[in-house]
């Protein structure tokens, strides 16, 4: 019996290592292609490891394609969007979890409604409104629609439910205003929730493509996903540059998952399995 377990365990490990290799292959290929000359991309026989590493694929992005600005833009939208969304979602979540007030049901209905109206179905009118407001080609324009999310409000509401009412009442007795209660008591309790949800928001914003591609125009205003797509133009697309841009976009996310895997997995399962 013991022996059987041992062999089975080794077989399973080998099978999973093979599967992991399959799942990692696209990333290996991405890295390999990012260091190739344009002519080697579809070469036959395939080039696994380029003879000379064409690091200029990377430098070219920075010198000719504003990738310095592009990375900063992506960071700016991801950080600002995430911080803003965490703040607004936690405020609303706290209100829905801990207050009784008139119109609560209706307002919560609006949260549900916003969950049901996908942004994709309002692309055209949003674009028109943006044009009227002068938000086209602005980074703020990318961030604004993402400042509140129904999922975020649900998540925070769930988390705020666990806060003891006595704690809030005691603070009121001591003369704390409601704003102060949020900043002094609720926000510190929410730190783990901020971490899990924040990482999810950050990743989403970093990889966001549809809305930025609709509104961003100038080369130095693009976010990274849009900038990669913008390289695909002309008759002969420089796929080696697209791959080096992709490597640049993937690396920070790999760092994020290796540092924050606990929070990420907790965030995903909290929202669904228990919620």
């Amino acid at each position: 019996m013991r022996k059987q377990h041992k062999t089975l365990s080794i077989v399973m490990l080998l099978v999973f290592l093979a599967l992991a290799a399959v799942f990692m292959f696209p990333f290996v290929w991405m890295l390999s292609s990012s260091l190739k000359d344009k002519s080697q991309i579809f070469a036959s026989p395939p080039v696994w490891i380029p003879h000379t590493f064409h690091w200029e694929n990377f430098t070219q992005l920075f010198t000719e394609r504003h990738f310095g600005a592009v990375i900063l833009n992506s960071l700016f939208t991801a950080v600002t969007g995430t911080v803003g969304a965490l703040f607004f979602c936690s405020l609303a979540g706290f209100a829905f979890a801990k207050y009784r007030f008139r119109g609560k049901g209706l307002l919560f209905g609006l949260v549900l409604a916003s969950l049901m109206i996908p942004m994709e179905s309002s692309l055209v009118p949003l674009f028109v409104i943006y044009r009227e407001l002068g938000l086209i080609d602005q980074l703020w324009g990318v961030i604004l629609p993402r400042l509140t999310s129904a999922f975020g409000i649900f998540y925070m509401r769930q988390y705020c439910m666990s806060i003891e009412n006595e704690l809030l009442e005691a603070a009121r007795m001591d003369g704390c205003s409601e704003n102060r209660i949020y900043f002094r008591i609720v926000a510190p309790i929410l730190i783990p929730a901020f971490a899990s949800l924040g990482i999810i928001f950050f990743v989403e914003e970093w990889n966001n493509f549809l809305w930025p591609t609709v509104i961003l125009r100038s080369e130095d205003h693009l976010t990274i996903a849009v900038a990669i797509r913008a390289l695909q133009s002309g008759v002969r697309t420089p796929y080696n540059l697209i791959m080096s841009g992709s490597v640049i976009s993937v690396l920070p996310m790999l760092a994020v998952i290796f540092i924050f895997q606990k929070q990420i997995f907790a965030g995903l399962t909290d929202g669904t399995v228990k919620g």
Partner: protein
């Protein structure tokens, strides 16, 4: 005076806390929604004055092929990938939650990486891999599996299969994490009791894990449904919605009509129908949540 302010700030607190959401909802959800309905009755091309055309757009949509084709494409892609993906995620999750498996943390992370990395980047890599002269065709030909390159991106069915494979690659890990969470909440004593009664791994999986995971699997299915119908980036980059509209999902259609063909009025009409589809799906999701509570 102090007292009055005190009561005021307490009374208004929840409204003040919800105000940012409410403003965003009105500006980014409600107004665009109403505006969409108005635009759908116009023949608007982005620049010149809007002409009211009544139900012309609706007629075009209902009698034309595009929209129905895009819904059909979504359904086909759904059928192609969801069962395969959920099966794969279930196998991964059950293996990773078994006590004989080593390095579970490592594998969990590896399978999740495709979900956290840029869709655009991964779609482009797949474009290279699945190209007719790409690495996959070369490997298959060298191994003698095929003699002709497979036109992964050039024929309707292969294009749909390629998009499905891309989606499987990106979302298997995500669903695996959800299922793992569910499996870890099943109490160990159930399995121990089964072992005492002589139920092996497969049997205990079939009689304990699966029934308890049913609801979670249903939840994953609903999530995948919503995801499939709002699929955009993968087909947009991998196959550009082609060939012959085969991978044009509703959102790809909306994007092309509004920002490439500048048929803003018609695109709004498609958006409204798309919204109705999504709403039906969301209501299904809500019902599922209710049962959970």
């Amino acid at each position: 005076m102090q007292n009055f302010y005190w009561r005021w700030q307490f009374k208004t607190a929840p409204y003040r806390f919800i105000a940012p959401f409410f403003i965003c909802f009105v500006v980014f959800v409600f107004i665009p929604f109403i505006f969409s309905i108005y635009l759908s009755f116009t023949n608007w091309h982005g620049e010149e004055a809007k002409t009211f055309v009544g139900l012309a757009n609706y007629k075009t949509l209902l009698t034309g092929r595009e929209f129905w084709q895009s819904l059909l494409n979504s359904i086909i892609i759904f059928v192609l990938y969801v069962p395969a993906m959920l099966l794969l995620a279930l196998i991964f999750a059950s293996c990773l939650s078994s006590s004989w498996m080593k390095w579970t943390g490592f594998f969990r992370t590896v399978f999740f990486i495709p979900n956290i990395t840029s869709v655009v980047a991964i779609s482009f890599v797949f474009l290279l891999i699945f190209n007719s002269t790409g690495i996959l065709n070369q490997l298959l030909m060298n191994a003698g599996v095929i003699h002709e390159p497979i036109p992964f991106l050039e024929t309707p069915w292969w294009a749909r299969i390629s998009v499905s494979l891309l989606v499987i690659f990106r979302w298997t890990g995500y669903n695996m994490i959800l299922l793992l969470g569910g499996m870890q909440s099943i109490s160990k004593s159930l399995y121990e009791a089964a072992e005492v009664d002589g139920a092996s791994g497969i049997k205990s999986f079939w009689y304990i894990t699966l029934p308890l995971m049913k609801r979670l699997l249903a939840f994953c299915t609903v999530l995948s449904t919503l995801g499939t119908f709002s699929l955009f980036t993968e087909p947009f980059i991998l196959t550009k919605g082609g060939p012959n509209l085969a991978t044009t999902t509703p959102v790809v259609l909306i994007y092309k009509e509004s920002f490439q063909n500048l048929n803003m009025g018609y695109a709004s009409t498609i958006s409204i129908f798309f919204f109705i589809v999504m709403m039906i799906l969301s209501l299904m999701q809500l019902r599922l949540f209710r049962e959970n509570d």
